[in-house]
Structure formats: structure tokens, C-alpha cells
């Protein structure tokens, strides 16, 4: 749970969030049990107003820069403003299934 907790703490410290989910999806992939390599983060924040998706994701990537360089192999990011979150009824798309590539070098 160490990486997961660090992701949660960094995002909470850096942003004003109305909702945050950090989901370890590593078990869906070709990695050892207990691995912390594949994550999905769901963030709802007023800070995303008037920001394009690419800018929102860059903000998240910047906050998790160190983890992306080391621990995280794949990171799914879902960002919403409060009104977008209500419009999609608080649901996020499923991450795609593994194609077995996790044994290749880190991305």
C-alpha cells in the first residue's frame, strides 16, 4: 500500500479536491501479487474548470512526476469538475485489459 498512500498524499497536498479515488489495478496485469505498478486515479476539483483535458492530465503528471519515473508503470487519469462529475453520475470508464506487456522495460 506504500505507493498508493504516497499517490493519495501527494494529490491531496497539491490540489483542492472534492473527491479522490486511487485504485490499484496491478492485479489485472502481468505482475507479481501485491505489486503497485498500475493505478487509476479519479479526481474531482474546481481547479479543473476552464482547463482542457491535456492540461488537467499534465497537472496530475507533474504532481506524480517522481512516482511516474520509478514505481508507476501505467496511470489512468480521470478528471472532472464538480458539474461534469454530477453529469456523469460519479462513474468512470473501465481501464483496458492487459496485453501482457508489463514484462517489457518500464514506460
Amino acid at each position: 500500500m506504500i505507493v498508493q498512500e504516497r499517490i493519495e498524499r501527494k494529490l491531496t497536498d497539491a490540489m483542492s479536491l472534492l473527491h479522490l479515488e486511487v485504485i490499484n489495478e496491478s492485479h489485472n496485469h502481468n505482475v507479481p501479487p501485491g505489486a503497485e505498478s498500475h493505478f487509476k486515479v479519479v479526481l474531482v476539483s474546481e481547479e479543473f474548470e476552464d482547463l482542457r483535458l491535456v492540461a488537467r492530465h499534465k497537472q496530475v503528471n507533474r504532481i506524480l512526476k517522481d512516482e511516474l519515473a520509478t514505481d508507476i508503470h501505467a496511470l489512468a487519469i480521470h478528471t472532472s469538475t464538480p458539474s461534469e462529475w454530477r453529469a456523469r453520475h460519479g462513474t468512470t470508464p473501465l481501464s483496458p485489459p492487459c496485453h501482457g506487456g508489463s514484462k517489457s522495460p518500464q514506460s
Binding site: 499534465k58 501505467a74 480521470h78 483496458p96 506487456g101
Partner: protein, 111 residues
Amino acid sequence: MNTETTEQAIRKQIADNPVLIYMKGSPERPQCGFSAQSTQILMACGERFSYIDILTNPDIRATLPEISEWPTFPQLFVAGELVGGCDIITEMYESGELQPMIKQASASHAD
């Protein structure tokens, strides 16, 4: 290949190809679920697109994240601009934004 020429090569690829995805594997044989889903969506958009397999191009894999300020793959570029990765591609396709953007980029490149 040194870093400077790799960067020049990448910038030329992005400028020359109106719809370009840097991915793991090929559209026929994607090596990652995120790359697979992204190329399926691009195929569903119905326009030709270019791809570069970063698994067989380690120089590009190492250099592109610095240029694009984007740490992960796949990365989709349309009309010379970074659109984003798999989550953004999926979200924009489902909201109906992606297809017109790609059609417009392909059409203006053909002029």
C-alpha cells in the same frame, strides 16, 4: 543517434503526420491495453493515421516525454498538437469531440 537528431526527427514526424500515435507495438499487434484501446478508437474514426512503435525505437521512447511533457504512452498528436493518452482519447471519442478533430486535421493536411 544523438539526442539532438532524435528530437529533430520527432518534431518532423509530428509536423508531417496530421494524425500520429506513439504506441507500444503496432495497431495490428499492440503490446499494451492502453495502446490497443487507443488504436481501436482511431480506426473507428475512419481516417488514416500514422503510428510509431516506441518499443522498437528506444531513442524516441526516451526523448519524446521531454518534448511533449507527457511521461507515458500512448501519445496522440493531431495537427501537431498533443491531444493526450488513452483516457483522453476515450473520453473525447465518447463525447463526440475526437472524430471531427481528426477529420478536420486529415482534410486540411490533404489540401
